[in-house]
């Protein structure tokens, strides 16, 4: 079974919820799909046994030996990535989109497309089972495809190790990498917070899961920071037929747990937040072959 935790926007405490859910399972495959800012490995400190290079795309590079600075390529580039400076042709790697047109039109064949290969995917073991995560290098694109790879790897490991549950910690937002995270999963949990923008982002995330017909439930985190808005969110959820599986109070220990490289369930098992998360996890995995402990 695949369970994905997402949030309309960052900062709602999604990763803390994922970490808690992971700790609540006997054994799990945890896949950190927030490849732009992977962070669960910081908490669980996995021992990696595999590192894979992810080629995110290509960039044009000029071979100075061959280039005659004729400037033929400049006008072809639609991304304003080629400049002539002091009679020399330069490619701005930030602006280059990798379309390859300059390389095709260069009469000297002086431009080559080189892979961008600074992104990585890791897999390893941690105290609750197996972990897979991707790290996209700054400025590199195609996070959606890296998420696909992470999920694929997670599935393979789950099969090999005979682990029933895969937990996906999704990226923030509602863009392409989020779509890659939730397509085909069995359940999505949206973590939101009681702010007006939180409600707005929640609605957009719900639209997404409804479009894909995925069973969805909601956790309202830090609800007591603004109870009026929390109630508004709750009302919206019941109107949409979404189950609010937990309303978590603000608790400093959630952050302290993180500082101690633990999930809240490990750090303060008797706290109200931990208990609420445990019952939420049970509600969600109810009926699955292997649920929360």
């Amino acid at each position: 079974m695949e369970l994905a935790v997402i949030s309309g926007k960052g900062g709602t405490g999604k990763s803390s919820v994922s970490a808690a859910f992971a700790s609540l399972h006997e054994r799990i495959v945890l896949a950190d799909c927030d490849v732009d800012a992977a962070n669960l490995f910081l908490l669980f400190n996995p021992v990696n046994d595999e590192e894979m290079v992810f080629v995110s795309g290509h960039k044009a590079v000029i071979d100075r030996e061959k280039c005659t600075d004729c400037g033929h390529c400049v006008s072809y580039c639609r991304f304003d990535a080629i400049d002539v400076r002091n009679d020399e042709v330069w490619i701005n790697e930030i602006a280059c989109d990798g379309c390859e047109l300059c390389a095709r039109v260069c009469p000297e064949e002086a431009i080559a497309m080189v892979p961008e290969a600074d992104s990585r995917m890791y897999s390893g073991s941690f105290r609750k089972g197996k972990m897979v995560y991707g790290r996209l290098a700054p400025g590199e694109e195609n996070s959606g495809r890296l998420v696909d790879l992470v999920r694929k790897q997670a599935k393979e490991i789950a099969k090999k190790e005979n682990i029933a549950t895969i937990l996906l910690d999704g990226p923030p937002g509602i863009g392409c990498p989020v779509l890659s995270t939730i397509t085909g999963v069995d359940h999505v949990v949206i973590v939101t917070e009681p702010t007006l923008s939180g409600l707005h982002d929640l609605k957009r995330a719900v639209e997404l899961t409804h479009n894909y017909d995925i069973p969805t439930s909601v956790i309202i985190n830090k609800y007591d920071l603004n109870e009026a808005i929390a109630l508004q969110i709750k009302a919206y959820c019941s109107f949409e037929g979404l189950m609010v599986v937990a309303m978590l109070p603000f608790d400093r220990r959630v952050v302290e747990a993180m500082v101690h490289c633990k999930s809240i369930v490990e750090y303060a098992p008797d706290s109200e937040v931990s208990k609420l998360l445990q019952s939420a996890c049970k509600k969600i995995t109810h009926g699955w072959a292997v649920g929360c402990v």
Binding site: S56, G57, E141, N142, R145, D148, T183, G184
Partner: protein, 104 residues
């Protein structure tokens, strides 16, 4: 007639891959000769547009019917236009062999 099934591996024991565009392999089954061959889905590696690229791959292999978990919005109209039939298999727990038996 040729049927393509999205597969996670290149044997008949592998399971059906629920994703169409980004599956690892396609099993191509010829209902007349009962021959099965596996082709690598070269489209899976594309940074974008894997679905349409996979359609081109299958069309090039004279496939007339596809079995997979889901067909995206980009893919459906293209398959329709090429008169390739889509068979939606919810739940990717079946093996390729399970599916092949349906055609024999």
């Amino acid at each position: 007639m040729k049927v393509a099934i999205s597969a996670t591996g290149d044997t008949v024991e592998s399971s059906v891959d629920s994703r169409f565009g980004r599956c690892s392999f396609f099993a191509i089954f010829d209902t007349d000769t009962h021959n099965v061959k596996f082709i690598t889905n070269t489209a899976a590696e594309s940074s974008q547009g894997a679905g349409p690229a996979a359609v081109q791959l299958l069309a090039g292999n004279q496939v007339q019917q596809v079995v997979s978990g889901e067909f995206g919005m980009k893919v459906k109209p293209l398959l329709e236009q090429l008169s390739i039939k889509m068979l939606n298999l919810q739940n990717g727990q079946h093996t390729i062999l399970d599916v092949l038996k349906q055609f024999k």
